[in-house]
């Protein structure tokens, strides 16, 4: 009797998030081991970081009144970024249709399907900046490389989403249209397009938004847009102009995201 009462804990404790105390211990031990391993291999230069902290303060101080006096340069770069994003989304959307059809298991023959899927997997892996380097090599410095980079990655992204939508559509309408003796093109326009159109438009608007984000970075490797101006201002220690650019980018991206959310909500 007394043993049973003694076994009851004095205070209530919430159940552990990890399931059992052993698992919690194992989790934290793993985290600690990882931290020790990674920090020892990274050979972090502590002295350099400590020296950097006061410098961080001076950089922040020089950033604080953002310098909008060179607004023409800023505007040119921003407009170029927006143009790259719009053009890349349109070109990417056009290219994504054949890619999406080829990558849909229910519409395309097996070898073509496998080739298209492989292309999508490899293309999606590389960051836009890496792809931009190659287009800069092929087409020279400037916005064309940026446009082609984003068009390429948009085509892959949109193609993947389109292929998934086509695979998930209802087979009924397709069979019905086919039963009337329609050709492949007619089947596509009358049975597939109506089923995937709304979703695809939503994905397209989302991609326009993310192209806007990416178009601000690819300038770092010389592919046009505001990124070029930003990168130059950092190398020239023009921190007040850099902070003006950063604020403008943040404002534009926030507006783009708001617009994309609004437009996609209206679509539904």
């Amino acid at each position: 009797m007394t043993a049973a009462t003694a076994a009851r804990p004095e205070r209530w404790r919430p159940p552990s998030l990890f399931g059992s105390p052993g698992r919690r211990l194992a989790f934290w031990a793993l985290v600690c081991a990882y931290l020790i391993w990674s920090l020892s291999t990274l050979n972090v230069d502590t002295a350099r970081i400590l020296a950097g902290l006061p410098r961080a303060w001076t950089i922040l101080e020089r950033m604080v009144p953002p310098d909008f006096s060179r607004w023409q340069l800023l505007l040119t770069g921003m407009v170029e970024s927006i143009q790259i994003a719009i053009a890349a989304t349109i070109v990417g959307a056009v290219l994504s249709v054949p890619l999406g059809i080829a990558a849909a298991a229910n519409l395309s023959p097996r070898p073509l399907y496998l080739a298209a899927r492989g292309f999508i997997v490899v293309g999606r892996t590389f960051h836009e900046v890496i792809i931009a380097i190659f287009f800069v090599k092929l087409f020279g410095f400037g916005p064309v490389a940026g446009l082609l980079t984003l068009a390429f990655s948009s085509a892959i992204f949109l193609g993947k989403m389109l292929a998934e939508d086509i695979e998930n559509m209802k087979p009924g309408p397709v069979e019905a249209i086919r039963a009337t003796g329609a050709s492949f093109g007619q089947t596509f326009f009358y049975a597939v397009v109506p089923q995937v159109l709304v979703k695809t438009l939503g994905v397209l608007i989302y991609r326009l938004d993310s192209n806007l984000r990416h178009s601000t970075v690819i300038g770092i490797v010389g592919a046009g847009g505001i990124g070029q101006t930003l990168s130059a201002s950092f190398t020239r220690y023009d921190f007040d102009f850099a902070s003006a650019i950063l604020l403008t980018i943040a404002a534009m991206v926030a507006f783009g995201e708001w617009f994309s959310d609004w437009a996609r909500r209206r679509l539904r």
Binding site: S38, L42, Q83, L138, H214, F234, L246
Partner: protein
């Protein structure tokens, strides 16, 4: 008297029907053409203003052939040199994500309407989300390289700075959708605010928190492969150097290695998330 009356006989039908079936009415078709025209205008404006040098297109295919010739065969002997930078890339992604989670939790509580103190703190939380999310990881890299100098520390900070907003936004949405009954039950026992957060809210948002974190980690592996371009450590440093020295066969080895780690991390992340959810 019935509601449905027969139409009077002998009169002609009110509407004439077309002989041929058409999918859209003329009005619908006009709207479609208007949309297409608008898109074409946007495309024309954005392409024309970019002042494209069409001469570059003329020799692009030669350049591509040249590039492939220089790349092939990949210089496999370079592989041992890139193992350490690859590990560094993974460390940047992992440590950055870990730091991001620590900061994202309080920011998420600040930015969720039902856990923030007042309108002012909510706005502060939202502003932090917007600022963190709207600046790309690579641009954060530029900022932190200016502060800490080149190296993996700048990369870790850049990854963390971008990921805080991503994780906090999704977690804040989860907090707003938490079951209010459990919160009230814990509150009615006289628990403090922190106890309510820890006992009633945290267990409910835990799957979202873990899932989002792992998803962000796999994005971060991809992002940290290019952080080296701005000097923020990782494999990107070597890739950029190889390309600048026109050592394309070396660059190909690095690209294949990046392909490997990104695909492995994506598969791993998808597997773990499917186990949790």
């Amino acid at each position: 008297m019935t509601a449905h009356q027969q139409p009077p006989r002998g009169t002609a039908p009110a509407r004439t029907y077309p002989d041929r079936w058409e999918r859209y009415s003329p009005r619908e078709r006009a709207v479609h053409w208007l949309w297409l025209g608008g898109i074409a205008l946007a495309a024309a404006w954005s392409v024309s203003a970019l002042d494209i040098e069409w001469a570059f297109f003329a020799d692009a295919h030669e350049q591509a052939v040249d590039l492939v010739e220089r790349m092939w065969p990949p210089r496999w002997s370079y592989l041992p040199r890139i193992v350490q930078p690859l590990i560094e890339t993974l460390h940047i992604a992992t440590l950055g994500t870990m730091i991001a989670v620590v900061f994202a939790l309080p920011v998420a509580f600040l930015a969720a309407r039902n856990t923030t103190w007042n309108q002012g703190t909510w706005l502060i939380g939202r502003a932090m989300l917007v600022l963190s999310r709207s600046i790309n990881t690579v641009i954060w890299g530029l900022v932190f390289v200016a502060i800490f100098g080149p190296g993996p520390v700048a990369g870790i900070c850049a990854v963390a700075a971008r990921s805080v907003g991503f994780i906090a936004k999704l977690v804040a949405e989860a907090i707003e959708e938490v079951d209010a009954g459990q919160v009230e039950a814990v509150e009615s026992t006289g628990a403090t605010t922190l106890q309510v957060y820890g006992v009633a809210i945290l267990p409910q948002i835990l799957p979202v928190l873990i899932g989002t974190t792992i998803y962000r980690w796999d994005i971060n592996v991809r992002e940290s492969s290019v952080l080296g371009f701005v000097g923020a450590g990782g494999i990107g440093l070597l890739l950029y150097a190889s390309i600048n020295q026109f050592a394309w066969s070396q660059a190909l080895v690095i690209l294949i290695a990046i392909l490997g780690i990104v695909i492995v991390s994506e598969v791993l992340s998808a597997y773990v998330r499917s186990r949790i959810v």
